[in-house]
Subunit: 419 residues, 2 copies
């Protein structure tokens, strides 16, 4: 790992100063090469799949491991989209003349080397590699051991694409072994690695955050709330709450908890409850919302009593917790207490309530009259996403190219001295 | 410490949503109160000074500990300047409509609670407190044990100024004990403290960075370089190099190493060496520069042979290392290898060299034709400085109000859902 680290570090200074044209050429090379080598990639992936089947991996995990021509084409398109994006490296912002005569601004530069630790999906290898290339960083990738053959085949294509664009192949390095010690070493080399980005379950991320000797861009859970305020457009609220909860159950930006202002609770919940019940969504309710929903004759299988733990829960399943609140004050207080600070939304027609919610809810993404499902790098217009940060330090919310950069000060003078 | 942490956390949500007017009122209250209570502050400081003298503290440390009416007036002025600055909390930047119809931007918000660990100078208590108030953060301050009486007196004035502006006094808390365990606890409470800012010697900062369980804005050493390029305005170079090295020896942004392009080395060094010799600056030279300087008859006391360690050294003293280099390539390579990535400057008339230096030197502040002594929050126009970061993560270089904030995403919709 020491050797990988020093190779990545050396490559990082080269790719940091590479012209935008060379980085874009590498990305287009890679897209072409992914499409051209689809059969070979499928063959490597097949070896992983067979090993995984023998090891008794569960069906959903096998699905995530699988590299299909469609997936390969999608990541190739991602590379082409990145190549088409403007290059942010070298941007200078805020250049202003100071009283001393010097002009001071900030230049956007790559962070250096990032380490990425992820599980099964081999397409993450290309997503991470292409973001590293575009952002002028080097990276060290540690994919899941079950995907090692696929990842090796993909990484070889990346390195060739770099070489063909006269960029250092070591800018994207794959940890070639599957032993667990490698992870521990990767997260404890501040001399070579500037930041670690783990993607995976909460347990993995907590473990890495605890043990890392370098900063971690961490994405913990998404206990996302929708608060239905009074006054609110009810038709919009039915549509947005349904989308936030049921459009997909597994993403971190799906709603897990619904708060409803008391003054509109009965009318709203009776209709909303019917929508949830029809879709088989279990409702875990406080006393007040339970009473409303039960009075409407919803079956006991649909309406359960919430426990204290439910307010903290990220279900990632057809379950939602529901609570009636006094109004905006109680909603904000509840969210700031129980939310995981990922994404929370208010549905309202009241301008002052909207402003207060945006300002006072302490979450990475705060929304007015939109589905929490929009909390995503592509939907936010970042062009790409390396992860979502639930931290406040450095990057918060969906992390794109800029999250992999830092700003250094540039000073332009004409011989000024300090007096 | 747990109790201090939870009090600060509770206050942080209040001060985060405080109107700019209330924060500015607290700052003006504080300025007035500092001036009004100068005699009482001096009396408290006197108790610290007497204890320190009894304990045998060295003269320079006693100087740093001393609170004079002039120092008190300066920090009061600092509070007034902060009050006059525009408030950045709540700023929304980059609001753009996305293809889905939602509008996405980023709002600047306080980080939450910062912990500050510092040594002797009691004026840092007011600098940190006033920055916390302006930036809408709460803070927990741990000053040097030798300044405990002064710090208690200052913190009491801060809390009164907050209360008189209807802001929570707990937004600025001083650790009231001087035991060392308190530091260990302060840096290991991620549930209450969002970031730690240590100010002090390299040993302190390394220790805190190693043990902290929260992010640290760290300022390690400043091994700053000036590279005199060819072509260069020699009169400017003499003036800027002299200023960078000799205007003050102790600041972290003073130059510690001088690189000179070979083609202009003889002419430049003979004159520059005379300036240094006249000021008693010891020159630690590579073979080539030593030969030039000795041929000019400079005494042996002034011109020493540099060891490998000299290229890494932050002297903070009338000593400078000097090396002749081939040109821009060797200068950049040398700096990226030996520099502490704090501040480095090129003196040149060559536009391409200037551009390459700015882009390729991997330091927090990179300068063209200006003295490294300008690397400072006030000189950079930040209005205030909580520290200087030699890290790349989150904040880099002088850290002002913005370094104590983060950007959260705000989404404004009209009922959009994800498809």
């Amino acid at each position: 790992m020491e050797l990988l680290g020093s190779r990545a570090k050396a490559a990082s200074t080269e790719i940091a100063r590479a012209p935008a044209a060379a980085k874009n050429k590498a990305l287009l090379n890679l897209a072409k090469s992914l499409r051209k080598n689809t059969a070979a990639l499928e063959a490597a992936n097949q070896r992983d799949l067979e090993r995984a089947k023998t090891a008794g991996l569960a069906g959903p995990l096998l699905d995530r491991l699988k590299l299909t021509p469609k997936i390969i084409d999608t990541v190739a398109q991602g590379c082409e989209q990145l190549a088409a994006m403007a290059d942010v490296i070298g941007d200078i912002i805020g250049m202003k003349e100071q009283p001393s005569g010097i002009r001071v601004g900030q230049m956007r530069v790559p962070i250096g080397v990032f380490g990425m630790i992820y599980e099964s999906r081999p397409n993450v290898t290309i997503e991470a590699a292409s973001l590293a290339i575009k952002s002028g960083n080097a990276c060290i990738l540690r994919g899941g051991s079950e995907a090692i053959e696929s990842n090796k085949a993909l990484a070889a294509l990346v390195q060739q694409a770099l070489a063909d664009a006269d960029l250092p192949p070591d800018a994207v390095l794959l940890v070639p072994t599957t032993d667990r010690e490698a992870v521990g070493q990767l997260i404890a080399m501040p001399q070579y690695v500037d930041v670690i980005i783990p993607r995976g379950g909460k347990g993995l991320i907590e473990r890495i955050s605890r043990d890392a000797k370098v900063p971690v861009i961490k994405h913990l859970d998404g206990n996302c709330h929708v608060y239905v305020d009074d006054p609110c457009d009810m038709e919009m609220a039915f549509k947005v709450v349904e989308n936030a909860k049921t459009q997909k159950y597994s993403p971190c930006n799906a709603a897990e908890s619904l708060l409803v202002a008391r003054s509109i609770a009965t009318g709203f919940l009776i209709h909303m409850g019917a929508i949830f019940a029809a879709k088989g969504v279990e409702m875990r309710c406080d006393e007040e919302s339970a009473k409303i929903l039960r009075s409407d004759g919803l079956p006991d299988a649909c309406v359960k009593d919430a426990t204290e733990q439910d307010w903290y829960e990220e279900y990632l399943a057809p379950i939602i917790s529901i609570k009636v609140v006094d109004g905006i004050d109680e909603a904000i207080a509840h969210i700031n207490h129980y939310s995981s600070h990922h994404t929370d939304a208010i549905l309202t027609r009241d301008h002052m309530h909207a402003q207060r919610f945006l300002r006072e809810v302490d979450s990475a993404s705060v929304m007015v009259n939109a589905s929490t499902r929009f909390a995503d790098g592509f939907e936010f217009g970042l062009g790409a996403e390396i992860g979502i940060s639930t931290d406040k330090f450095h990057a918060r919310g969906p992390v794109g190219i800029e999250g992999l950069t830092s700003l250094k000060y540039v000073v332009l003078g004409q011989g000024e001295v300090r007096s």
